[in-house]
């Protein structure tokens, strides 16, 4: 209604102006009967109101559409009213939606091809990685150990690529089941044993009783691996520990991962979960990608877990996952 009145206001103004002009001209010519003039004005005013009412009623849907914000794309094409204006707006919206959808599908297809390619490629890389890994496994010279460590890093990198690419199609790719939290933590830490041993940092696992959590094992393990990698990387001194503590807090099961590392400066804390954010520590430590915590947060969100981080520079970092 408001829009309609605003739209028609020039017409009303022009109409009033010409009414005044005509009455004035008649007045100058000698017709001085005010009552007749007013009557004529009233009659022609009625005509105008009638016309406006007709316009409004026939184009009501059109004006309503223009005024109300759209909730979804599908509403573009709903409900028609057969006035030329409403119809052509409808046509315009429909063709726009069609173009838009075509373009969207093209991009969707492109992204899917890309993800497919990345998946394929990562898996192809795993065979050469296996070969290198098998070659150095039985060797115990420092240079072979170094190659082994690099293989580990490559493997971790590939994994991150894979999981980042999969994040968008998460819905097709997860399976929630009841997991024994301690078993998951032990399996992840033991997979990362070389990392721990190389840095002389050791895990301490403490669970308050048997803890069962509902989660997807693969994604949860990936999150834990990211957190452990961070914790170990930022523990500079040797013979420190990383504490895994499982407890119940109200209805939640909490897994706390506490390291004794360098910690995160308070100024960086609000942004640690942002993608590509590396902060102070990123500048002083190599190979910070800023993706670890971002992915952890995203995945936890999708799994329905919460993740919290506390840290004080120099005192270490605590990350909590609330199931």
């Amino acid at each position: 209604m408001k829009l309609f009145l605003r739209d028609q206001s020039p017409l009303i103004a022009v109409y009033l102006a010409q009414l005044l002009v005509i009455t004035y001209i008649y007045r100058l010519d000698g017709y001085r009967n005010t009552a007749i003039s007013l009557y004529a004005g009233l009659l022609s005013g009625c005509l105008l109101v009638g016309y406006l009412a007709y316009r409004y009623i026939t184009n009501r849907a059109f004006y309503n559409r223009l005024e109300e914000p759209l909730a979804s794309m599908e509403e573009f094409t709903g409900g028609t009213q057969s006035t030329p204006l409403a119809e052509s707006l409808q046509q315009l919206l429909k063709s726009q939606l069609r173009h838009y959808k075509t373009e969207l599908n093209q991009y969707k297809h492109k992204i899917e091809t890309q993800i497919h390619f990345i998946n394929q490629w990562v898996h192809q890389m795993k065979t050469p990685l296996s070969v290198i890994y098998l070659m150095v496994q039985d060797e115990d010279e420092p240079r072979f150990t170094a190659i082994g460590d690099e293989v580990d890093r490559l493997k971790k990198g590939l994994e991150t690529v894979l999981y980042t690419a999969r994040l968008d199609t998460f819905e097709h790719d997860f399976h929630v089941e009841a997991l024994d939290l301690e078993a998951v933590v032990r399996s992840v830490t033991s997979h990362q044993k070389r990392l721990f041993i190389r840095k002389r940092v050791f895990p301490v696992i403490r669970m308050e009783g048997a803890m069962t959590v509902h989660s997807d094992e693969k994604w949860l393990s990936f999150v834990l691996t990211q957190l452990i990698t961070n914790a170990v990387r930022y523990t500079v001194r040797e013979n420190r520990h990383i504490h895994f503590h499982g407890s119940s807090r109200g209805p939640d099961t909490v897994l706390e991962i506490r390291d004794e590392g360098v910690g995160i400066p308070a100024s960086d804390l609000p942004r640690v979960f942002d993608a590509y954010f590396t902060g102070e520590n990123g500048r002083s430590f190599q190979e910070s990608t800023g993706m670890g915590l971002y992915l952890a947060k995203q995945i936890c969100g999708k799994l329905g877990h919460r993740i919290e981080l506390e840290s004080a520079a120099g005192e270490g970092t605590v990350v909590r996952i609330l199931f």
């Binding site: 898996h123 065979t127 496994q137 115990d140 420092p142 493997k155 041993i197 895990p203 693969k218």
Partner: protein
């Protein structure tokens, strides 16, 4: 002797695996013509098959089904894919177990061994009776027993892993990192101090056998088992 057929198209991986399997006393052969996997299976009639998923022409699932028409022998998949669905696919196509790349020799060997044991009876065949022997000091891997000169001592699981590693590389330096890696398992993490304790226990057991001063500590690096007991005889 158990025969193992490898259906894997990466030549390097095949040669490494074949070499390792030979070392453990298995007869291993790799498929060379990926058009005729079934034919080669019939010719070689293996006790166990190691199967890759991505193969030229047909995939591993296909060949697995083909083999299942002929035999019920254990089939172990080796694949780069670690998704649950991929594993389910493999198992539903007739596989018995699944190893993801990149894998440890130890895990692969353990799975092979356990499949063979399940399919052909407990501890059948000679390849399971693995012993390591250096200058008469013999370590029985299955029984966790170390014997020399008619004497035998039992070892704990962790001690056995240390002895195994030291004997395999006798005379050479074995780094602390490597020992830590070997004895780390899901149940117990071993830090530096614990490793010291275990090494001392091994030393004590060697003394019980009458072997002195052969387990040497190389400061800051690791340990070396110096085979000096042979001369004492």
């Amino acid at each position: 002797m158990f025969k193992i057929l490898l259906v894997e198209d990466d030549k390097q991986l095949v040669s490494l695996l074949v070499g390792h399997l030979h070392k453990f006393g298995y007869e291993a052969q790799a498929v060379t013509d990926f058009d005729k996997v079934r034919k080669q299976f019939e010719l070689f009639s293996p006790h166990l098959v190691l199967m890759d998923v991505n193969l030229p022409k047909y995939d591993g699932y296909y060949w697995c089904r083909q083999i299942r028409n002929l035999s019920t022998c254990p089939i172990l998949f080796i694949s780069a894919r670690e998704g649950k669905m991929d594993q389910v696919m493999a198992l539903e196509n007739g596989a018995d177990d699944y190893i993801t790349k990149p894998f440890d020799y130890e895990i692969a060997m353990a799975k092979i061994k356990s499949q063979l044991r399940r399919a052909y009876g407990t501890y059948a065949g000679s390849s399971n009776e693995r012993t390591v022997s250096v200058e008469g000091l013999t370590f029985d891997v299955e029984r966790l027993a170390l014997s020399w000169n008619g004497e035998t001592v039992e070892l704990s699981h962790t001690e056995a892993k240390i002895v195994d590693e030291l004997l395999k590389k006798s005379g050479m330096l074995v780094s602390r990192d490597r020992l830590l890696e070997k004895i780390w398992d899901d149940q117990a993490f071993v830090d530096d101090n614990t490793l010291n304790v275990y090494v001392n226990r091994v030393r004590k057991k060697l003394t019980q056998l009458g072997i002195h001063d052969s387990l040497q500590t190389i400061r800051g690096q690791g340990y070396r088992l110096y085979p000096n007991w042979g001369k004492a005889l």
